[in-house]
Symmetry: C2
Amino acid sequence: MNNIFVIGVGLIGGSFALDIKSHNSESRIYGIDKSEEHLDEALSLGVIDEKANFEDLNKADLVIVAIPVDATLEVLPKVLDQVSEHAIVFDAGSTKEDICLKVKQHPKRRNYLAAHPIAGTEYSGPSAAIKGLYKNKTNIICEVEDTAFKLQEKALKLFSELGMRIRYMNPKAHDKHIAYVSHLSHISSFMLGKTVIEKEKNERDIFDMAGSGFESTVRLAKSSPAMWTPIFEQNKTNVIETLEEYINNLKHFKQLMESGDFEAVYNEMETTNHIKEILNGNQ
Amino acid sequence: MNNIFVIGVGLIGGSFALDIKSHNSESRIYGIDKSEEHLDEALSLGVIDEKANFEDLNKADLVIVAIPVDATLEVLPKVLDQVSEHAIVFDAGSTKEDICLKVKQHPKRRNYLAAHPIAGTEYSGPSAAIKGLYKNKTNIICEVEDTAFKLQEKALKLFSELGMRIRYMNPKAHDKHIAYVSHLSHISSFMLGKTVIEKEKNERDIFDMAGSGFESTVRLAKSSPAMWTPIFEQNKTNVIETLEEYINNLKHFKQLMESGDFEAVYNEMETTNHIKEILNGNQ
């Protein structure tokens, strides 16, 4: 795979570009982005080798679509329209149901692999791209049976070179579970940031009191609204469900505090403590 | 200050012990703890030099009280009863109002400095103690005028050697603001962990989907319930107020999603984004 096209030269697309280049120096990375500024930045940072257009996609061996999920709905069918029979196209979107549905009937559906690499940071843009971002990260692949077998093989070889673990899942299950382990954390973090900023807006010194715990919990509130708004929109039903459960748990905790039942408050925390072992995979 | 007594040889007390030892090799660190196991562990890890009892406190130059805030209410007056006129005693509790009130009338009040070093990790016990924990961290000191001037000086010299920044605050203001920048984050994290565990308890593989974002947001849910329950109890009124505002913000976000107003959803995130600059001190 020598001609690699990256659509969206930000953190996700850019990090793929850097890793692919370092694993295969023969490959030439073409960048496509709606922001000319981002393209120039990616070029000067060595994230891409060359700027390109949609018309050039016919010479692509691999196309990575790494743009907000609303834009993916628009762009993915057009990409499939352009690519040759031997090209593999994958996306990196944090929702899968709407995207898979959008190209279900596309004549080149078998050139597309629906992917969600669980990797990233709270930063964005070409300068946020880093080598090795995907090492030891999980990549969720949906509807694998709808991708041509030889193209699956190519993509899986690449993911394996980058050090990723693969999990197969249907788009509905993906969107439901990812709402809990990813989308909800972003909202909890944004609203925590909002609550504290609102309260403390006139007391700038207060943030001197914030320790590493607060920073960790509020880290995701630095994330890009342009990326996250369409994710919440596409995964609306699942996200609302997680929010409802989260709000109910918070209300319950507050009620226990109000009624002075601190034994129950203790138990609430004690039973959640085993998140340690769960996250270490020792459950 | 040669005879240093650490009451509670866990993460906080143990880290003070390690730093003091490395800055002053002359000092001898005595450990007091209700857990004999922790004392043995602290001894074998070199966190303390010797086990001790309350009766030995009369030879102390410095006493650090680093135990849960409910235990501090019991222990601090007894410590003050025992120490000599030239000893300085400080605590490290995450609440200050109840503790300051408890010793307000104590005949040795001027031997006590009310402190809250904003430092820690989600781990606990002697093995969690680390050198350099306090470097560049904020230490909030309350009612400084109630501590004897010469003893203030000793404590401040120590904090300065350890690399801490000092902020002065009254206990009421401390408890109110710390509820926002610390206590609320712990509850948001515990309840996030609870929500996800409840939902996914039968689907262990799901945690493979959790990325670094989830881990960061849920990190504080690994914290010790024995430490945090009495903090929430002592700071009940303030914490309930923060929880109320947090729940209202989450409900509002959910309503915006339900009504399909994703422009407003975008704005909610956009206005919170500047938490970046706030945490970097560039506001």
